[in-house]
Amino acid sequence: MRIRKELFADERDDDLRLVGQPVRRQDIEGHVTGRTAFFDDHSVAGLLHLRCVRSTQHHARIRSIDTSAAERTPGVRRILRWADLPKKAHNILTIFDFGIDDEPALADGKVRYKGEPIVAILAESRRAADEAVAKVRVDYEPLPAVFDVEEALKPGAPLVNEYIGRNWFRYWGDYDCQQIRFGDVEAALRSADLVVSGRYQMSPIEHAPLETQGCIVVPAEDGRFTVYTCTQGLFFSLDNTAAQLKIESNRLHFVGGTVGGGFGGKVDTVVEPLAVLAAMLTGRPVRYVFSRAEEMQVSSPRGAERIYIEDGVMRDGRIVARKITHYHDAGAYSRLSTYGTIKSAAHHPGPYTIPNVWVDSWCVFTNRTPSSAMRGFGVTGGDFALESHMDVVARAIGMDPMELRIKNAYRDGDMKAHRKLTQGAALVECVQVAAELARWPLSEEARRDSSRVGGGGERARIPPTPTARTRAPGSTGTGARVEPARLGTGFAASEPRRGTTPLPGWTGGAGFPSSRPEPPRREAERREPPPEPPRPSTGGHGAIRFSSVFGSRRR
């Protein structure tokens, strides 16, 4: 490996001491000698084992749950149901005042995906818990299920999640999808020499960590709980567990350590709340660990994404318009998909300067396993579509795919579709070096091109932009008036933003009455008590920007 230090040498201090050097991982000795301690290496006396009865149906109403035989199983100490939950539904982003509490930790009278936990069994041994699980009889009334994002958006599609109230997540009070509007895409598509369209489909991907998700909870005499866990976000999971159990966070002591593989799959905080609740109700230490089959089937995968791209292209290779519709399959519950959808919109239209851009990014609910974070979720799928499409465009106009990328790559000083000026662009140089290493012939012009020249000026301009709002078929919106200035629409008048300006419209907090949870639609015949009214928004924080899922930066 060679680092091209000659590129952008004046833009950085030449003090790289680790990049490009072989470095021994600090934890490798423990791993290869088997001495690394994981959460499950904590040996605790008097442990109860938690196992869940899981839905065999993709979508069904639960008529009844018969646990009588399970209760009689030797070793069984307690069975947890939805009625035992302090908070009836939760979403891990609502601790940041974003999103809707839409997922019950145990089924609330309905199951929305295959594998959803219905009741939790606590027993003296893993074996006894498994035997009791096999004895629980659940009487289902199957409901029509929907597995395809576009089918789910059609009027008359089965409603997946009553807490959400529709099969798509509504952003910023009254947007059916996350939108980017920059210039007049329709006019540009009409005047382009060629329009190149494509459809790209991602499959869900499981993180498949060697260590399956789990935790061990130990109650202490002072009313606190020590939680040994493999979560990737220790304090994020602590706060979410406290919120879900309605206890002060200082009653929880989370102990992390080495995570046996995460890749984004261990932030959902699905095991800790149930295990702590079980320890609270029994006064015993509790262990809850996913089996391999559970890890594969019910832990959140990367979501399936479907991406449509329509490019307006000129014969000389300039892309003058890019129109994208991006569907995220959130599965049955939000988890982090609402955020992944925003990320995808923030990533389009890729590292290219395109004067007219139109993006609709949808967070859609289906009866599939809830999807969530995985290694650049929202971005990776988009890149697969964008870069595949760049090759399709190159072929359509008979241009070299590397040259097409260099021609359209953003330059320093260019205005991005998100109203941010490009800084530190390096795509041109990356393509040049890749071409050189692959002995790919480039034209003299492409070889001499640079990310630092040709940008700015006319390319820094924000074009006049029609700001039509996209509606789901049959959707009428909430009718909520959304202040254009606060949402950052009407950009033609606004100043270009620099640096770490939040996404337009990302103001969060109390200012968005219709982004608050709506009470779920309930069936009259349901026997269980209705869920609590939604938590009132705390308000008054001003704008919030995610710096990662583990924290927010308040501005």
Binding site: R51, P74, S125, R126, R127, A128, D130, E131, V133, A134, S291, R292, A293
Partner: protein, 272 residues
């Protein structure tokens, strides 16, 4: 009911225990049974194992090669006499699995596993079953047909004729990930030549039905033919009609039926 592990000094005692208790499973290498325990399988509550030395004995001296059912894939790979079986043994799992996985266990490995059983089928292996009342022998085909029956028979050992020409044995496994993915399909073939023509062929397919199977139409189509492009054409065409391939996360039935002829042709012609 807690899980009980019972160790027996002889195979006959193990067989008696298994016959007496329906909710018992025999543990050889544990790559299937222990995984089931870990995944919360409560269909059995007793595990039976044996320390009978005959169980792990490997005999390559006589005219027939005899493998105790507890012989591991690693043992096969360590035997120079069994070099012709190394590709089949190496196709089972990774090194950790091969250290534990046994030839007897592989006969019961559910689809799409059972690559070594496919190889044994092409070698026309005979199976010695242990029982409380003494041993009896069945063909491997017969064992595979009835392997889901309870109580499951306990395999003590298996044997097959020492190949006069080890080169007559060929083995191919098609996987999505290399080197150790589960089989899209597996083909093992015994192709003795007489005067340049196939005589007495045995061809076995793995992952092309619920259990490994013999491909009889393919065998008939090869009889008396040379292993040339023209000579194998009829056999290749017959391949798709064999078995009843399942659709699973590895491949669809449709795909398996279309690709089996391609892999068979490559195997017969010695193409890469």
């Amino acid at each position: 009911m807690p899980l009980e592990v019972r160790s027996t000094p002889t195979l006959a005692e193990a067989a008696s225990l298994l016959q007496a208790e329906r909710a018992a499973r025999f543990l050889a290498g544990g790559t299937l049974v222990v995984r089931a325990v870990n995944e919360g399988d409560v269909s059995f509550s007793t595990i039976v194992r044996t320390s009978d030395p005959a169980f792990t004995r490997l005999r390559t001296a006589g005219g027939r090669i005899e493998l105790g059912a507890g012989v591991t894939m690693a043992q096969i790979l360590a035997s120079r006499e069994l070099a012709f079986l190394h590709p089949a043994a190496r196709s089972v799992g990774g090194p950790a699995v091969r250290t534990m996985a046994t030839v007897g266990g592989n006969l019961f490995a559910p689809h799409p596993y059972g690559d070594f059983a496919t190889a044994l089928l092409a070698l026309d292996a005979r199976i010695r079953l242990a029982s409380g009342f003494g041993a009896r022998e069945v063909s491997l085909e017969e064992l595979l047909r009835g392997r889901e029956r309870t109580p499951r028979p306990l395999v003590a050992s298996l044997s097959f004729e020492r190949p006069a020409d080890p080169a007559a044995f060929r083995f191919r496994k098609m996987t999505r990930t290399r080197p150790k993915g589960p089989a899209v399909l597996t083909i093992a073939a015994w192709l003795p030549l007489s005067g340049g023509r196939v005589s007495g062929a045995r061809v076995a397919f793995g992952a092309m039905a619920a259990t490994p199977i013999r491909a009889r139409a393919v065998e008939r189509a090869l009889e008396g033919r040379p292993l040339s492009a023209e000579g194998v054409a009829v056999a290749v065409a017959a391949a798709a009609g064999e078995g009843d391939p399942p659709t699973d996360p590895i491949a669809s039935a449709w795909y398996r039926q279309r690709v089996v002829g391609v892999i068979l042709r490559r195997l017969l012609l010695g193409e890469p």
